[in-house]
């Protein structure tokens, strides 16, 4: 059942992103290659790796990882972003961990009727946008 769900979610993601792939074995990750970053970063796009628990979609995605060279456009590092090896289990694969805590994850029997990976991407975008604003205001 999870298999069909992830496949459907990945298909849904392709409505917004051009390049989406998923874990074909255990359905434990989804990879978006062309995730748009909000204005204020040193890059326009990043890769995005979303790690899913065995309990997904009941629970929110467990971890998310983005490119390891992300900074603000003025060259500052961003909060809750961990490119170093000691804080990042996929360091050797080139990823940086971005800690994102999601409250009120409410999936629904109908994928588009409740929280899903597309909405997760929206939350991530807004969070990153907030982080650059904090930097500016700070």
């Amino acid at each position: 059942m999870k298999r069909e769900w992830i496949r459907a979610e990945a298909y849904l993601l392709t409505r917004r992103f051009r390049q989406v792939e998923f874990d074909p074995d255990d359905y434990l990750w989804v990879h978006i290659r062309d995730f748009d970053l909000p204005p204020g970063f040193n890059k326009r796009q990043s890769g995005l790796l979303i790690e899913l628990d065995a309990t997904y979609p009941f629970t929110a995605p467990k971890n998310c990882f983005i490119d390891r060279d992300i900074r603000t456009s003025s060259g500052e590092s961003i909060d809750h972003y961990f490119p170093e090896s000691s804080q990042n289990k996929f360091f050797s694969k080139g990823w940086a961990w971005l800690s994102l805590h999601i409250d009120n994850w409410k999936p629904n029997a109908n994928i588009i009727g409740g929280d899903n990976l597309l909405r997760f991407c929206d939350i991530l975008y807004l969070t990153l946008e907030g982080l650059t604003k904090q930097r500016k205001e700070g």
Partner: protein
Amino acid sequence: MENILVCPESKFNKLNNHLLQNEKEQIAFLLCSISKRPNQTRLLCKELIKAGPSHLAYNSESGAALKNGFFRKILKRSKQESLSLIICHSHPFSDHEACFSMIDEACDQKMASYISKKIPGPLFGTMVVAGSGNFQTRIYDKAAEKMVAIDQVWIIGRNISKYPEKSKEYDYQPFIRQVLLFGCSGQDKLADTTIAIVGLGGIGSLVAEMVCRLGVGKLIAIDFDVVEACNLNRLVGATPTDVGRAKVEVFKTHAERYSETQIEAICESVLHPSLIERIKEAQVIFCCVDKQAPRFFLNDVAVKYSIPLIDLATGVVTEKGYVEAGGQVRIVVPDGFCLSCIDGIDRNEVIQELLTEEDIQMRAGAGYIQGESFPAPSVISLNGVIASLGVTEFINLVCGIRKANTFVAYDMISNQVLSQTLKAKRNKKCLTCHEKGIRAMGDLIPFPNLFDDKTPNNIPDIAMGQEYGGGQDGRSF
């Protein structure tokens, strides 16, 4: 091999209403999944399909027949979805015990033999319902190549009704004071019930004590934990010499001194993949754990296998002189809400409890996990109230004194017990229990492995400048 048909009460009532709507014979189908164990097969009723006037070739007071196309459609679904099929029809003219007619006898055997060859996986059965409401059910035994009676039909709502009821040679003397309330039939029902208690801690050991003293037939006690000195204020049967022993073993030793209940003690995490085969045996499950991941898992088990789940929990908050304390009993039955419908499982806690060692290290390295967590307060009297409320609803569920309340809350500060049964409703869009989800899917859908949740080792390696396009690492669109 024992065969059981498990049917939610609402579906069974709808079936009866359809079959006995007038003086003419009617037809309906039950599509069922299977829950199989070495000595028992449970057919879990998943869907009721009623044959309306447009689906019938004819129906009269003495017979009814389906149009071929409609029957073929049902058989196709049975085959495609691996669902077992029970064809039900009525004998409205009969106001006595239901029995299959000679025509039924001849047709069923032939049809069963044909269908089981065409659709080898699922089972095939038939049911006849008399005008009196009495019914007979049988199933095709492939090995013996004949129809055999289904041993029992369980109709599960806020009461569990079993037909036919079983009674055995029984010494009522130890239970005589409660038999005055439940009657011998209530006591027989308790003796014919197998329950699982998951979590033999402060609440679970009290529940276990009560169900053993009530005289349930079998108790499957599951807890991976051992007794610690700080448990002795609330753990039934435990003494200082038990520190270090498995909680389930301590309880078993204690209960076997007074109880005839067969106790199976399993010292293992309920999330261990092998345990589902043990839990499936239960007719009622008590969830007495203080963690959310096992609660999530047991809710799935209840929904998938149509096994009533009695979830018990207490909570105490003490902050700067402010005290909030209480608890709740929530019962998941096939017709009602599941814990996910009522947001009764903390999703973030589920993630936290299932983190791998690597995830924990990653969070600790980033400063998100610091030091040890403090244990929550736990008092035997509060546990006792919640255990008693839960076991009282269990008695109502099994013995049928009244309909069980599916949501009972207790506030220790105001000393109030409130039934929230009418407020807690099933959410038809619930991810867990919606009709096309895992509801009554039995063995058809495997459980996710929550015991050793692993870190994937096939993630895209962007450090190596991996080219995109699925290939070895991923499936792409």
